[in-house]
Symmetry: C2
Subunit: 336 residues, 2 copies
């Protein structure tokens, strides 16, 4: 599983047991380029083989990858071709899907909605028949609403706009301004320009979100505000795919299952009011069969789902115990 | 005068006559780096000397530069030091100001508000006593509201959001979508990703704004919508600095003089309704001494103002005929 900031590899036996896990850096090929992406993946898998006591020169049966940015067919075929050529000892077969689909495959074989909010954001509906409908996932230049990048950007933009008298901040900006100056090691807004342009790194910029989460938890109203807005933004992704949700996905015990992936969900308490508000409004406006939803989180890396799909693609099936892979952390039933 | 896309050099005699003009590429050091910026400037000035029949090995008396991105003191001192060292035959003295201040110096020695909307956007109030108050000018990652980049981005974002069902477009997206596919030579939204990331070029991206202006003039409602929003955004920059405008700037014959710089102002007719609406609302909410404003455009390159300020800095004064340098293209008197 390869996100915008960190990546993870799991080596799984034919019986579905995890033999080894390794970590690596960002492997989004849009962000780091194809070469860095391939090298990073090879390095993680080879380390996993050694950790599991296997011969690193013997290819694994199947390498299933779930990559943020793994959407475009021509690009992923090129990734696979390059990997085969450059690292012939890596794997016998290859399969690439997106981080969202890898996560969903880890949680269920029946479908649901995945909402990713880490460095970036993305939402994918997977219906029971396997059909998919996406919303978002276009990166920080064209979306990433509700992501750590977006939250950091919104908070910092409010500091800029307040300084400019362009937009009045809804709350005092002093905590955010000080936290920004500390995190980015700058003394004024001018100092932010290199961080926005010359030395811009999306994952570093997005990392400021942690400071905002701390501020929100400590009671700062502006930090709380940006997380409430993030909750709304993420819920809007769900509302966007709602018209395409298959009837059966509403009717399980959990109601509509929403799989929440990524570090921003750790700040659920700060996002809750905005998130629930948007879903309640949507439900009230014409989704009478939408009675309940539950938010789930993974207890295993979504690399596991990627491995499962890779095995399937190679003609094998990995038995996964889905109930052991997820946690329900919030459920809501709408008032009728 | 050096904008985000094009740059211009004017060589001026001690009597204030323009001896030669030359053009060059973008010289914003934040965007192109210090080396490209310095090389670009040297090349333009040397060509101007030759064009004017002067010896290129003889330094000019003074090089006054108005640069987009010429705001940060440490950075501009470094630019000057590097220029002196690398090109000793370029000039005897150096002066750098921003594109906004260079434009204002071309139009008046009494002050006013400059609103730049080209590739990027920026607003600067210059009071009669020379004091300045800015709003915006932080670049496309943190602002540029109302600029060609921002207009292009807003229109394209509406196509993405409509595809995602994330936000309902206020008008039919088909013209914008087709224009986007033609301009960027893509067949779907995925194809836009390289233009947003790997091969992103701000000035090329912003150039799509021309297609939107054509669409707006031809009657497309979504194109008209984004320009109306741009008009509002630019007017909000003026509202932001309004509390700091010196009383005397309101009381001239033209009312508050607003100098409009940059290619987006060519689409004034499309922006007019949004622009006038925001200023009228602001005036109605407590600026009783704000009775009238006029929009001016330069008939000369704002490099002329940069040259004037450079000469001043070197102890000389360039006589400029301000009335010949500007055109009034719109005036509005508020109903009392």
């Amino acid at each position: 599983m390869c996100g915008g900031t960190h990546s993870k590899a799991v080596l799984v036996s034919a019986e579905g047991h995890i033999l080894a896990e390794t970590d690596g850096p960002c492997t989004n090929h849009w962000l780091v380029g194809v070469d860095n992406c391939i090298n990073g993946i090879n390095d993680m898998v080879q380390r996993a083989k050694i950790k599991a006591g296997l011969d690193p020169d013997t290819p694994v049966c199947s390498l299933g990858m779930s990559l943020s940015g793994g959407e475009q067919k021509a690009a992923i075929q090129k990734l696979i071709d390059d990997m085969r050529e450059r690292y012939p000892k890596l794997s016998q077969s290859y399969f690439i899907t997106t981080d969202a689909i890898g996560a969903m495959a880890t949680a269920s074989d029946y479908g649901g909605i995945v909402v990713i909010s880490g460095t970036g954001s993305n939402c994918k509906l997977v219906n029971p028949d396997g059909t998919q409908v996406g919303c978002g996932g276009w990166g920080h230049m064209m979306g990433d609403e509700g992501s750590a990048y977006w939250i950091s950007h919104m908070a910092i933009k409010m500091v800029f706009d307040a300084r400019d008298n362009l937009v009045t901040s809804p709350h005092d900006i002093n905590y955010v301004k000080k936290a920004m100056e500390e995190y980015f090691q700058v003394s004024d807004l001018m100092g932010m320009l290199p961080h926005l342009y010359r030395i811009f790194q999306k994952s570093y910029f997005a990392g400021f979100c942690r400071k905002l989460a701390e501020g929100g938890s400590a009671g700062d109203a502006l930090c709380q505000h940006v997380f409430t807005e993030a909750g709304k933004a993420l819920a809007r992704h769900i509302v966007a795919v709602l018209p395409k949700v298959h009837q059966d996905l509403f009717s399980g015990e959990l109601g509509l299952p929403v799989l929440c992936v990524g570090s921003v969900w750790r700040s659920w308490e700060l996002m809750k009011s905005g998130f629930t508000q948007v879903l309640s409004e949507a439900q009230a406006h014409g989704y009478s069969h939408f009675q309940k939803y539950s938010l789930l989180t993974l207890r295993q890396s979504s690399a596991l789902g990627g491995a499962k799909m890779g095995a399937q693609n190679a003609g094998a099936s990995l038995p996964l115990d889905y109930s052991a892979n997820v946690n329900v952390f919030f459920s809501h039933t709408f008032n009728q």
